[in-house]
């Protein structure tokens, strides 16, 4: 399985063959609470790293989801629209948000799992 990378905005990404699958971390879904709505980007949209591309709303709050890398959105997880609770139950599996075809290099500030967990501990 490909290595997971993490952003400071609490997204995870898994890069396989130049395409990154992106979702929010377990820490992020716990902090949000029960997810009730998700808005996904259009397939084909070209995004910058750090650009707000999706919205996730829990009972209590709304939050942006950012593209952790630059590239083109090549797939979105439409199943989340009817079952947003999957983001809580399987945040790093079936709860993925979208796939981005990487343009250029990975941003240098992406963390590996140990670094991300250490980052979360500082919050």
């Amino acid at each position: 399985m490909a290595e997971m990378k993490y952003s400071k905005d609490h997204e995870w990404l898994r890069l396989e063959g130049g395409v990154a699958t992106v979702g929010i971390t377990d820490h992020a879904q716990t902090a949000l609470g029960d997810v009730v709505f998700v808005e996904l980007p259009e397939t084909g949209r070209v995004v910058e790293a750090g650009e707000a591309v999706a919205v996730v709303e829990s009972v209590k709050a709304a939050s942006d989801v950012y593209a952790p890398i630059a590239g083109k959105v090549v797939a979105v997880n439409e199943a989340l629209v009817d079952n947003p609770g999957t983001i809580n139950t399987e945040p790093t599996g079936e709860g993925w948000f979208f796939k981005i075809e990487l343009a250029g290099d990975l941003p240098a500030d992406l963390m590996d799992e140990a670094a991300y967990l250490a980052f979360v501990d500082t919050l």
Partner: protein, 368 residues
Amino acid sequence: MTETEALLETPLASLHRELGGRMVPFAGYSMPVQYPAGILTEHLHTRAEAGLFDVSHMGQAELVGEGAAAALEALTPADVQGLKPGRQRYGLLLNAEGGIVDDFMVANSAGRLFLVVNASRKHVDLPLIAAALPAGVSLRPLPDRALLALQGPAAVAGLATLVPEVAALSFMGVWEGVWQGLPLIISRSGYTGEDGVEISVPAEAAEGFAKRLLALPGVQPAGLGARDSLRLEAGLCLYGNDIDETTSPVEAALVWSMGKRRRMAWDFPGAERIRGELDNGTKRLRVGIRPEGRQPARAHTPVHGPDGALAGEITSGGFGPSVNGPVAMGYVARDLAADGTALTLMVRGKPLAARVAPTPFHPHRYAR
């Protein structure tokens, strides 16, 4: 308040930690927004069985002395003098312009008035009331009492196994007495739209009493998050969101809380404005709003009318777990206040279709 100021704790603070409550600042207190079960589950469980809420941050006080009811009426259009012993009523404190200073509960019990006011407003309300009292009437804050809300269809049956007298109360009935050495004040009321009770208990006994309640069949702890989604589905106002010093009882659709006698005597603060609004209508009205689809529209979302003009604002909004969809309330121009009127909400800069809808969004199930 600033972040450097220490948050106050309720007498149940250690119980919240023991139960895994996620603590957040609210009205100067550290309060549980949810427990490990989560807001959705806590909300649905309260509607299905019973939720136990710590509402000890709210202000409790008693008004003692001959003429206490008449004295309180100088600040509110509620009929306090007509409140029978063993009964409670909802009321509004008004300023001289008819704006809402706070909403409160008043009970006529044990020969005095027992008041419950909002946590965020007690520092305003209590001095306001104290300053309005004639000789012989005194206001006694009760900071050494906790307040627990046990809400849901299993609440009263469960509590009645401990305190049998509660079974005989009807909605807004009050029982006061000593139970196992504890002086309790129990009202059959709440903030969820469900049957249930609010229980005032001495602070030092609150944790033990709360544990007795949590041991009753079907009772689970519920936090402020579920309290908010439950009251929103029930169409109940949150002070600071849906009502404040700029909103009148007529604009807020709370005219029902004004006593009939009071509306003939017009002897309360702001009576002139309120009488004018009742005769001529207001510019805006509080209404229920149902967004289409599943996306919630939250407080401060701009509301536009069918012609595209700005027509008002959402004051409370979120996802209603029992409705299984987004629900909101807010103020709209009077000509757009009829049920079914099409509105457009600007959510994060994008138009979202919505309609004016009757409240409650989920039927009340009070023990009338």
